[in-house]
């Protein structure tokens, strides 16, 4: 029998931390309903992508079930969890799997507490596992105040014709992402701008564009058409902080666009920024450098701080995108692109199109 709606602090799951894999537990950190917002929103988004009627995220309900697996060393363990239709009424009730890795931030929170209590040393390696919490049957619901995103209409097939794939993989077809060429170039220009000053700093901006639904297939996709530079930000070699004026300018520009008929569906789809420094503190290229075509070192990665920022800014927004421009050991340019999958940001690709014509959007 299902319990009532989970309060933000109810714990459907718990993370337990260990010094050794399969060793005794150092401590337990509750996984609250609040920690599961991104997974709940992702399940809701999958339903929307599948042509669902468009239930407000605030009204979307799901229940959780742990998923166990077997390991030769430690035996049975909880590999992750599923989000399920609460009271299955349709022939194909939904069920979406999320690996335990999407709760790494909860484990990190538990580790910080253990460090404060002196039970774990700073920098000490730890392992974490997952178990059912003290409210395993609580019904999970999307956050208050969340609706259905406004969707532009555009034929996906037409956009894919002539589009240039960039690191596109099989999973990317579920939620295609396009950049107009001008937006892609601006994202790189804005992100690498900080490399032109001495000492170099991190710079970046927000990716802007519509979420769209294809009228032929019903599929959802995103098109980045613009990049709003993070002006008046506070930048250092290893950090970029959006200030009050940064956010105020972005919000004013976005509201102005949303008030115009042709750009009313524009939203903040993601962020782009530059790690304008050489990998490994500028260490000399490795011994194999002259033997390989592509340098494998890169400063283009999503750091722990980057992930925390994205988790905060794009909380409950599973369409979120993240792009990092960096350098390899040969001072060549590198780039990585991420989208949300399985409750966390993972590498993905995108397509580049020449432009998004006004008559291509409704």
């Amino acid at each position: 029998m299902l319990e009532g709606i989970a309060t933000p602090e109810a714990a459907p799951l718990s993370v337990h931390l260990h010094r050794e894999r399969g060793g005794p537990s150092l401590g337990i950190e509750p996984v609250s309903a609040r920690d599961l917002v991104d997974a709940v929103a992702e399940a809701w988004f999958y339903e929307l992508c599948a042509g669902g009627a468009g239930v407000r995220l605030a009204d979307f309900e799901t229940r959780l079930r742990v998923v166990e697996a077997e390991d030769t060393e430690i035996g049975k363990y909880t590999a992750g969890f599923e989000l399920l239709e609460p009271e299955p009424v349709s022939r194909e009730p939904f069920s979406y799997y999320f690996p335990r890795e999407c709760l790494a931030h909860v484990a990190a929170r538990g580790a910080r507490r253990l460090i404060e209590e002196g039970r774990l040393a700073t920098g000490e390696l730890y392992f974490y596992g997952l178990t059912a919490g003290d409210a395993p049957d609580a019904l999970l619901r999307g956050p208050e105040g969340r609706g259905v995103p406004g969707l532009a209409t555009a034929p996906l097939r037409r956009l894919l014709e002539g589009a240039e794939p960039v690191d596109v993989g099989e999973d990317d077809a579920a939620y295609p992402v396009f950049f107009t060429r001008s937006a892609r170039e601006r994202a790189e220009r804005v992100s690498r701008k900080g490399g032109d000053v001495s000492p170099p700093v991190e710079t970046g901006g927000l990716l802007i564009g519509p979420l769209c639904r294809c009228p032929e297939t019903g599929q959802l996709f995103a098109v980045v058409v613009q990049v709003l530079e993070a002006t008046e930000s506070e930048a250092t070699k290893y950090s970029l902080t959006y200030s009050g004026p940064t956010w105020a300018r972005v919000q004013a520009l976005l509201r102005a666009q949303q008030a115009h008929p042709t750009t009313r569906h524009h939203r903040i789809l993601g962020q782009s920024h530059g790690h304008n420094f050489l990998p490994f503190e500028g260490a000399e290229p490795c011994a194999a450098c002259r033997l390989v075509d592509v340098c494998t070192r890169s400063s283009a990665y999503l750091s722990a701080d980057d992930r925390t920022w994205c988790r905060a800014v794009f909380s409950g927004e599973p369409w979120q995108l993240s792009q990092v421009f960096g350098m390899d050991a040969r001072s060549g340019g590198t780039e990585t692109f991420y989208g949300q999958l399985g409750g966390g940001l993972t590498r993905r690709g995108y397509w580049v199109i020449d432009e998004l014509r006004d008559d291509g959007l409704a």
């Binding site: 609250s32 919000q251 920024h273 420094f277 701080d305 920022w309 800014v313």
Partner: protein
């Protein structure tokens, strides 16, 4: 709708009404609060209601002035009724 009041206030007499939204503008909630409460307490309450990450510190920014509210002062001293605030994360991108 959550209500936080100091014990000396009557709910029907002294209530500050305003709106809080997230930075992407995709989530907005009405807030009804005792004006004597500190901004810090109000911010924590709003972030919890909006189910924003609990391991991130948040601040409130007045949309009219673009200024961040002083966390230690009462919210009623800094916001006019009907104001719009943005719940902004106190965190940064960075390697």
């Amino acid at each position: 709708m959550s209500r936080l009041h100091t014990s000396s206030q009557k709910a029907s007499d002294e209530v500050l009404l305003f709106h809080a939204a997230n930075v992407t503008g995709t989530q907005e909630i009405p807030v009804e609060i005792g004006p004597g409460l500190s901004v810090r307490a109000v911010t924590d309450s709003i972030a919890s209601r909006m189910a924003l990450p609990g391991d991130v510190a948040w601040s409130l920014r007045d949309d009219d002035s673009s200024a961040y509210l002083d966390e230690d002062r009462p919210i009623g001293d800094q916001l006019a009724p009907g104001a719009h605030v943005t719940v902004t994360p106190k965190t940064h991108l960075g390697a």
